[in-house]
Symmetry: C2
């Protein structure tokens, strides 16, 4: 994960913004820099000083393992029964800190109160969420290796799960099968709870699988991904249960065409909103514009949703090493939903598709 | 979920605390009152006024489905491209709100800024996290039905997964199998990412499954749970891969004995810390006290971890209808980990065990 290099970049950003200390609470940001995997019920904090030097604060229960598995030298345990678990930072940092960088979208009021208790009410909390997101958006070769691996696992599993899709099997069962196969193929887990949406109800995209069985003639859509060494993948395929009628084939074809157009548009220098516009125009030209209610894509890395977002109004300019999904969808009441989603990495001349299961309606 | 009744109780608590409006952001709190299931990437907010009247604010993408599936009458969509998505509350609530109840452990700085922007900087944010947690701790009959069902699913799946445990199969594969079987048995999903920890390394409880294969003679521990109609279950079993030696059998026996003692202690009127003490004393009497590094148990409901917590220093008095886990564990470096976890409901005279897979070392 090139952690020390990325921490140096963070320290540069801190200097530009006049920040004395960064405290990262967001679990994905922490994993990005530490490489250390935690149970979701565990919390930990990464402190980074002006020189990019990290101090990692973990729960007592994770301390021994962190010392063995994490590259960071300064690791401090916090006792889980202390109300202010930041107090372990005291000796290290008090007295020389005026502006603290935090993730304002993640830091809770209680955590903010702890920070103020420790550093004094005069301390200024500055948002570094955007700075870290920007750092994370461009992937290194090492990161790309892991993402490729995660994408490969998800692609293979997609093919295997779709072979088991037939009338009568429930949405939830196929999701469970995906969860099993992802791990059998070497994933550390799912990048999010997979979901399968089938039939007319999928037009109101609930993005959770239900106990509903698949029925002949329906469209169904499976969205899933793997985590491999901390990095996520994301893929969606739409399939017909038995034979789809003309209307269903048409909405699938429109979603697919919009995706093709967006994929063809991706290259360094293009604005994120422009990629979205390309996809949206295809769907609008078919008179289905109001049935495409979400974004065209999002970045993927340690988080399943990260920068850059491909959507209306997003000015981010794509550059080589960014990894994004492309997934325009069409959701028509009384008919169903269709979406094809792939992950790509932006290259010097265009993009390279990382996920590779067959895309045609099967 | 007896939602309107629970909202009336919340309104009573609000009156006592002089709170004009409650804004719930925590997804489990929101699901508790709304009964509405959302994808984890979706956010929604439940506003409750002085009379216990709810207004539910959901993303545009979830709006049609919420109108069809949620019991609440006032549902308002927020456009996902609005920076301050609370602005939809404006017409409804501005001008008569001085004290707003929020979950301080959950509300982020950005959300707090939105609230202040909307209601003015003079508005006082009061923590209602504890109030809601207290309401949720005692389960109704309807809630218990769902929890029983979730516990039944997890118990059956535990038995099935353990039958597949043999040398060579990886921790992650068995976790994947659990994910599959839970859904085949009717769960909407897992109550947390199941984990299996095997061998000597389990003495540093990492609480995530790895690609490590099981090996002859090791102890291994599987912790998992189902979600059924929004309610969680939680169960752990320890098993031996092949035949365990005397030392491993001993730490298992100590963990089991501590659990039995704690289970026997649970009854209305006992303090949470006292149940913990009973378990801890058994382990200490065997000279293994320092190898029990966590709490004895926790409440379970819509959240996998909720009130009451059974741990040192917790003064909560148990009462009928509370549902808790009992899971003292022993983690010995060079040997391995042993823990047996069951879920119980506190009854009028003691407790009733809800999970029922065989407990002996197999």
């Amino acid at each position: 994960m090139d952690c020390p290099g990325k921490l140096r970049e963070l320290a540069e950003g801190m200097r530009d913004a006049g920040i004395d200390l960064v405290l990262l609470f967001d679990r994905d940001n922490v994993r990005y820099f530490t490489g250390f995997r935690l149970n979701r019920a565990s919390s930990s904090i990464l402190a980074v000083d002006r020189d990019g030097k990290p101090t990692y604060i973990v729960a007592q229960l994770d301390f021994e393992r962190a010392k063995r598995e994490c590259w960071i030298e300064d690791i401090i345990p916090f006792p889980e029964d202390t109300p202010n678990y930041l107090s372990v930072l005291e000796a290290l940092l008090r007295g020389r800190v005026e502006r603290i960088g935090v993730e304002k979208r993640c830091l809770t009021l209680v955590q903010a109160e702890y920070v103020r208790e420790l550093f004094g009410n005069g301390v200024e909390l500055v948002d570094v969420g955007g700075l870290v997101a920007e750092l994370r958006a461009v992937k290194s070769e090492k990161e790309l290796e892991r993402i490729r691996h995660a994408a490969g696992i998800a692609s293979r599993v997609m093919g295997e799960v779709l072979r088991e899709a037939r009338p009568g099997v429930t949405e939830a069962e196929l999701v469970g099968l995906a969860e099993y196969l992802l791990r059998r193929e070497g994933a550390e887990g799912s990048s999010f709870e997979p979901f399968l949406m089938s039939g007319e109800e999928a037009a109101w995209p609930r993005r959770v699988a239900s106990g509903k069985p698949l029925r002949e003639g329906e469209l169904a859509l499976l969205d899933m991904g793997a985590v491999y060494e901390g990095y996520c993948s994301d893929i969606t395929r739409t399939f017909a249960v038995g034979e789809a009628d003309r209307e269903r084939k048409r909405i699938f074809a429109v979603a697919r065409k919009a995706q093709e157009a967006a994929l063809a548009a991706i290259r360094p220098g293009i604005r994120a909103a422009e990629v979205d516009r390309v996809a949206r125009e295809v769907i609008e030209a078919e008179g289905l514009g109001k049935y495409f209610p979400h974004l065209t894509g999002h970045g993927v890395g340690v988080s399943i949703h990260e920068a850059p977002i491909l959507d209306r109004g997003v000015d981010t300019v794509l550059s080589p090493g960014m990894v994004v999904t492309v997934e325009p969808g069409v959701y028509v009441p009384g008919v169903g939903a269709a979406r094809v989603e792939d992950m790509v990495v932006v290259t010097r001349t265009g993009c390279e598709i990382l996920t590779d299961a067959p895309r045609d309606l099967v």
